[in-house]
Symmetry: C2
Subunit: 156 residues, 2 copies
């Protein structure tokens, strides 16, 4: 897992290299999908990404199928990662750069990110103990966020 911040140019180079080494083609659509995910920090459904591109680049032709196909490609290459946040469908986010985990509020849906060294280290130990060659890991804490707890108290 790469744990340093990469510029868009560097990421694009990684992607291009990946395409080349698999005899795949570098297309405008593929670039835009990567760019949107890189530039908009956050968690997006395939449809979100489709809509963002349609809005930002109205003159580029794009089908939703291409978004699905490209996300699959990017996920295989670990450039993006996906997670299911309980809501319907999967969400994707940029996956190179510092790894982080998620706190998700079950009331308002807010997502906070965190990084915790103890957790990171322990995960590696666990994988080793089970003879797993770890390629990725996800941790998600669900609960009620500060704001929603306050609102709840106010109501009572």
């Amino acid at each position: 897992m790469i744990n340093q911040i990469l510029t868009y140019k560097e990421v694009l180079e990684i992607f291009k290299k990946l395409l080349r080494s698999n005899s795949l083609k570098y297309t405008k659509q593929r670039e835009l999908i990567l760019e949107i995910i890189y530039n908009n920090q956050g968690h997006f459904t395939p449809e979100d990404i489709y809509n963002l591109i349609k809005k930002s680049y109205p003159n580029v032709r794009l089908g939703i199928a291409t978004v699905y196909r490209t996300l699959g490609l990017l996920e295989d290459a670990n450039i993006v990662s996906s997670i299911s946040f309980g809501a319907k469908g999967k969400k994707y986010e940029f996956g190179l750069g510092e790894h982080h985990d998620h706190l998700v509020c079950i009331v308002c849906g807010a997502i906070e990110e965190f990084v915790d060294d103890t957790i990171e280290r322990q995960q590696e130990l666990i994988a080793k103990k089970h003879n797993f060659k770890m390629t990725n890991h996800i941790m998600k804490i669900t609960g009620i966020c500060k704001d929603c707890q306050a609102k709840k108290r106010a109501k009572n």
Copy 2:
């Protein structure tokens, strides 16, 4: 979070109490869904559960919609928990009893479970630090399992 092993009878009692206190009805279908999840340790899609019940109890009428509705109910009550394993759709498992996390093989799909005290403790600290009232947490390590690593070596 309840951290002790409960008998089926105890779980059923919890479920019945939940139903009663919400003016919901105790039906054969609801009981069978709970029973199947309790007795078959593992991770099931709603369709899996539907098929298991159809096979085990061919004379009980059951629609897939009821499975979805009941799983929603059981999940809200924390009696079952759901997780998305990358494959399509969510999978459900029994959620009372000792909490555990998952190692998922990206090659063969095998799921191993583990319990790790350090992780558990750290999660509580993180939730506290972010003022989250934690209701649940999931950790998933993806990688290549021992067997698939061996097969891969054999091929090369």
